[in-house]
Symmetry: C2
Amino acid sequence: MSAVYFDKLIEQVRPQRPRKVAVAGAEDIVVLKAVAEAYHMHIAEPILCGNEQEIKKLAREHQIDISDFSIFDASLEQAAKTAVSLIKEGKADMLMKGLLQTSDLLRAVLDRENGLHSDKTSVLSHVSVAYSPILQRMMLLTDGAMVTYPDLKTKAKMIENAVKAARGLGIEKPRVAVLAPVEVVNSEMPATVDAALLAVMNRRGQIRNCIVDGPLAMDVALSEEAVRHKGIVSEVAGRADILLMHNIDVGNSVIKSFVIGGSCLLGGVIMGADAPVVLTSRSDSDQSKLYSIACAASICGN
Amino acid sequence: MSAVYFDKLIEQVRPQRPRKVAVAGAEDIVVLKAVAEAYHMHIAEPILCGNEQEIKKLAREHQIDISDFSIFDASLEQAAKTAVSLIKEGKADMLMKGLLQTSDLLRAVLDRENGLHSDKTSVLSHVSVAYSPILQRMMLLTDGAMVTYPDLKTKAKMIENAVKAARGLGIEKPRVAVLAPVEVVNSEMPATVDAALLAVMNRRGQIRNCIVDGPLAMDVALSEEAVRHKGIVSEVAGRADILLMHNIDVGNSVIKSFVIGGSCLLGGVIMGADAPVVLTSRSDSDQSKLYSIACAASICGN
């Protein structure tokens, strides 16, 4: 992706002002580079939690300027707790995973007393923010990474999380397509049944701030031409902002298909806690990492 | 897709000589155009089964030259049976759906006495032949259209069908990736369990003429870079020819993601009967229709 083009994309998801990001386990060169880049682009203000000596050593070795960043010295065991407490105290806006294990970070987030899961009815779910150069549009996909086989109630919560993310990214009333292999209700295809139920739940005010429709197949969700061809009447079809996928089998493969086979730029954020949580992976491209941070900053900032 | 580029693709899947395609319900302008084009490209020799008067009228109206094609006059009810019997008698090599319903065509194929399902242990499954301009490669995906929620035994049969298709397309020993969200066996993720079992079945000679590995996530199946990054050791990872997807929820969404979000050219054929069956849809692009016919002709011809 060309630099100019990428800059335009970042502009689309840029928060109104830089947001404070608490990095748990910041002694990680990939993460340090990403947050330093985000800082220089006025997207985020990093607060580094971790082994101070190690962080400074890494920054020196890789010539990363971290002189403007706050550092909270903490062991790897303590880093997640420290980062979480910064958010709890209102000193940071979002959380980011550094060197530690995802499970350790989430344990700190979900901690009953000191965690960030104050709304116990909420579900933690992963929302991918993909930009497709072929479709020339952004879409939010959930969930390819975290929730495995959600029931109807969990799916409703996942929509709420994705809607919150979409609104943070400036989509005031997102269109949610609940995906299935066909557009008709077929009692032998659970995805179609859940989709129809979620659509009605939306009409009855049980899922708010969005327009939910389903069952819709992927082509009908995204392509106006497919909608015309199949003669589907829907406020969502052809222009879905959010794609809710039946389970992790679908979500994981679809998201990776868009990235590998569709050159999509992908960011991702965990929603459902008191603050967005960014998990970038070592294998993410630098652009993808920055895109994730910018999306999360925009989500918690707007 | 540019014409020159498309010609190269067709060259890749061209049968050694034109194959005889029996069209059931040929009084369909979309199908007539497609088979006429295939004829002019020396890919197929159409045999038209259907209302002769209607077929000739349509051809005249749309200036399609069908003077070289055999026509078997038959009512719409009889057209499928006529086309099937042509294959049974060795007068045609493959079947193609015209105006009639898919279910009516398949009923004729599956007819116990006069059908094309002589190996009763085989399963009818749909194999998509996708060419990705981004990955610059062909891959076979199964099943996004026909088999819904296959058990282990059915999945093994589906692999056999896809392998037969791949070999027809010139891939002598196809690499089969059984997809799942992760690369480890997790008893709470049925896709990973089936994948591991299918891999072992392959090693024990229960699934032949191919190399099966799984569980593999989509990125690891297709991208050498992802393989290196995750440190997966596999003969299949990074270069899968066939992608077996857990069920129709995954298959349908993934295939449509590749087409809509990845500009893939898609052909498709039903395998498992005595001859390949082509079902092109009115919404397929002209290139896609021709690609389907060429793939099927190559599959039954080689």
